[in-house]
Amino acid sequence: MTTLHAGTAPAELLRPVEAERAFRDPFEPSKRSRATAWVALFALLAAFPIVFSNPAVTSIGVFTMMFLVAAIGWNIFSGYSGYVSIGHAVYYGFGQYAVALLIEHWHVTPGASELAIIPLGGIVAAAVAVPVGLILLRVRKHTFIVLTIAAMFIFQLLAFNFAGFTGGSAGTNVVSPPWTGTVFNLPFYYIGLGAAILALLVSWGIRRSKYGLGLLAIRDDEDRAKGLGIRVTRAKLIAYVASAFFVGIAGGLYATFVGAVYPQFAFDPTYDLAIAVMVFVGGLGTLPGPVLGALVLAPIQQYFYIQFGASTLYLIIYGILFIVILLTLPAGVVPSISDRYRSWMASRQRRREEATPTVGGAMPVTVPAGPVGIDDGGAR
């Protein structure tokens, strides 16, 4: 007759199980498998335009790369700090105008040297982000969102009205490189991919650093973060400028690829909606979130755009998608799924443990731990 049953299992029996569970999350992919996944993903992306060389397809690829760079960049600020910006089109616009106007004023010869100007789009955008950020970041989260939208419209109006400089509503043109056929899209595609990898490395570096931890603390509770000695305004501004840089690069890429810059498409109010949807779908504030969101949604968006012409039907679908996601999976698709996967794995393991009679079918018993430990039942 067994004497062990639920509730009477000696504490010593349970202690090692608890300690093991605590130190390592068994359902977390190892560092190596994660690195392998990233390398495989980018190898696939690099091979994509060679395998699918149809210009109609690679053109969608180029736009996808633009969104990929911008989404990763946007997430560095809005994802990590929790300050959602709906006005990063300001930097998309500055990237476009900076590159288009510099090419025009410097009489850059069409071709590869035009592409060399693209990084300047990012630098100009970052330079603009310093004073604009200093002003906008004086307010807290919800007011900040409103101010970012206002700033975007201010710059759009300026672009319309400084017609002598920007060309106003007639726009500014960039002479396209003289390449033709299936190779035309490739340089743009690979510049976009390279910028995306750079953005991802910056995002990864920030996420792992103490500075990045400070940003996450700000997202959680800004006053507490301040109380721990974090210089909150400076931390937010650095992330804001970094994200503006990458969105500016995306703008520069757009200007050289499309060859025309107009105020309403440069400072486009729907641009941030598109970026925000991508990041929210993928997972706000996570490293793979914006990558996944952009790679899935940007091609769909381009496809809709081509199918339904210049109609804004795709924007309606986008808006509905955004609302559905915020209501059902507010943390984003990736974090929600990984949470569900974890709890599913955990419950499966628990069931397996219950099936094995070695611990006498023990229920989880709380174990007082160590010299000053409280264990009153785990979760609240």
Binding site: L228, G373, I374
Partner: protein, 259 residues
């Protein structure tokens, strides 16, 4: 070590602290008690730099900290554990504790301190990767203590550390405070649980209406009948109480408007 002199402070709607005179000795556990609205939490805000005194002197180790920012005060060696839940609930336990050492540049020092606090508070290592918000109230308090010790503070200021905890968890909190003090840290404690707070304290302080009304050793203040009067809704009459513990047994206390 920490000196308040004629200190006035408030939030714009008038002063809450109305002339606080108090000296916190190095190595002591000073427990401040008093009815609601006495200015205890305001006093703690002033100590942490979240609120600057309007007039009066506030010195720490001979330096004025009246105008110092929270960051400067933290660097000077004062760490505060604030009222109620204080962790970043979306971050992991380990990240929370690491944030306590945000101002320390040397990562080897941070790693060493992390080991030390893990020894003191095993919960930090056990639940390192869990979301801090998933811990119980008592466990969260332990993690807060661990985070506070990451700066290796000279003075630890605690605002009602036992609030919302059942007696067993509260006792562990009090034990941790005693341990901190034994390790050479000065403790400034605000506590609603008067008996527990004062029995722990080497120095007891009673505040009422923005001023210090009674002072003495913890046991003396606890035994003072005027203290009981205060908690039953009375006030300490001027000239009778402001003195120190010598007021023990000084005639009939003012029980007048008691419950």
């Amino acid at each position: 070590m920490l000196v308040f002199e004629g200190l006035f402070a408030g939030y714009g709607g008038g002063d809450i602290l109305k002339g606080v005179d108090l000296v916190i000795e190095e190595g002591s556990v000073t427990c401040v008690v008093g009815p609601n609205g006495a200015g205890k939490s305001t006093l703690m805000k002033v100590v942490s730099g979240l609120l600057h005194p309007r007039v009066g002197k506030l010195e720490f180790q001979g330096q004025s900290i009246a105008k110092a920012t929270p960051r400067q005060i933290l660097k000077a060696g004062i760490v505060q554990i604030m009222q109620a839940r204080n962790l970043f609930t979306e971050l992991t336990v380990r990240e929370n504790v690491e944030l306590g050492a945000f101002l320390i540049k040397d990562s080897s020092v941070v790693a060493k301190r992390l080991d030390e606090v893990c020894d003191m508070f095993p919960i930090v290592a056990q639940r390192a990767k869990d979301r801090a918000g998933a811990l119980s109230g008592g466990q969260q308090r332990m993690v807060e203590f661990a985070r506070a010790l990451m700066m290796d503070p000279v003075l630890v200021a605690l605002d009602e550390p036992s609030m919302g905890l059942e007696p067993r968890s509260a006792q562990i909190i009090y034990d941790s405070i005693a341990t901190m003090n034994k390790n050479g840290r000065t403790v400034l404690l605000v506590e609603q649980n008067v008996r527990a707070g004062l029995s722990l304290a080497s120095h007891g302080v009673v505040m009422e209406a923005g001023r210090v009304r009674l002072e003495g050793t913890g046991a003396e203040v606890l035994a003072n009948p005027q203290m009981r009067a205060l908690y039953l809704g009375g006030t300490i009459e001027e000239g009778q109480g402001v003195a120190s513990s010598t007021g023990v047994g000084a005639g009939a206390p003012a029980f007048g408007n008691g419950s």
